[in-house]
């Protein structure tokens, strides 16, 4: 069984080196709907993939957070990308694979992945 001593070692390692970043400092917020509708449609692996990718790729200005029901249950899992000074982008019917594309093309590349947005579905 894993011990708390291991956690202590991790604490000693990261203490000091972490610029304890808070949500408020992050320029970009990635919001995942995690109400019953989102969870039933597969939001848990989407949120998990996003959190892991943002950590792995060290996107320090991005905060991945969750919200409740956005009111568009038929389009879940929904991911909203809110960048400072820009219009909110709403991605619909997300999967972990599509979420990775959003990370690479939008969060890193700076281009909205238009084919997954709600606007493109409503056309």
């Amino acid at each position: 069984m894993k011990s708390l001593a291991e956690l202590k070692a991790i604490r000693d390692k990261v203490q000091g080196q972490v610029g304890l970043r808070s949500e408020a400092e992050a320029g970009t917020r990635v919001v995942v709907g995690m109400a019953t509708c989102g969870i039933a449609s597969g939001a848990r692996p989407v949120l998990n993939a996003l959190s892991e990718a943002v950590q792995e790729k060290k996107l320090d200005n991005v905060a991945v957070v969750q919200t409740g029901c956005i009111g568009l249950c038929q389009y879940e899992p929904i991911v909203e990308v809110i960048e400072q000074g820009k219009e909110k982008v709403t991605y619909i019917k997300m999967t972990p694979e599509k979420a990775m594309e959003v990370v690479n093309r939008h969060l890193i590349g700076g281009h909205v992945v238009t084919e997954y947005t709600i606007q493109s579905a409503l056309k």
Partner: protein
Amino acid sequence: MMTELSLNVLDIVENSTKAKASLVFIGVEIDSAADSLIIRIDDDGCGMDSEQLARVTDPFFTTRTTRKVGLGVPFFKQSAEMTGGDFIITSEPGVGTKITARYVLSSIDRMPLGDMTATIHQLILMHQDCDFLYRYSYDGKEFTLDTRELRVVLEGVPFDVPDVSAYIKDFLTENTAEVNEGHPAV
């Protein structure tokens, strides 16, 4: 309808965090001899009055304003009752809410437990202002994860620091595997 019970747990505990709980107990108890799987969720959130409590299993009741239906509790109740098990919810305003869902383990209609590690890990990381006490037991063998104990060790280092997050995930994965050893998958 959820595809695995761990998703029901995630959904229901989201209610606890919305009810401003500061501590949520989540228990999974598998007992082959009694042919039962029991999931308990016990929070110290704002609770519900008797009128709300009476309506909470009604799909056309929700506290949300973005839509008119609330399927979280009805789904959870149905998942237990369809196996021949039962579902009990009690609540007291200002004290909290307790849910016990009992499943007939061998029932063909029992959904798989699914990825409890993903559920617990996500709850801990996404609700760092709330403490979680998770206990998983299988035929008497068990482990617990108590975020209050982690906090004492971490001295203010948050749960979402990559190394800490990975530790929590590994802790859950390894201990679950150890408890499950030699038993059929649930």
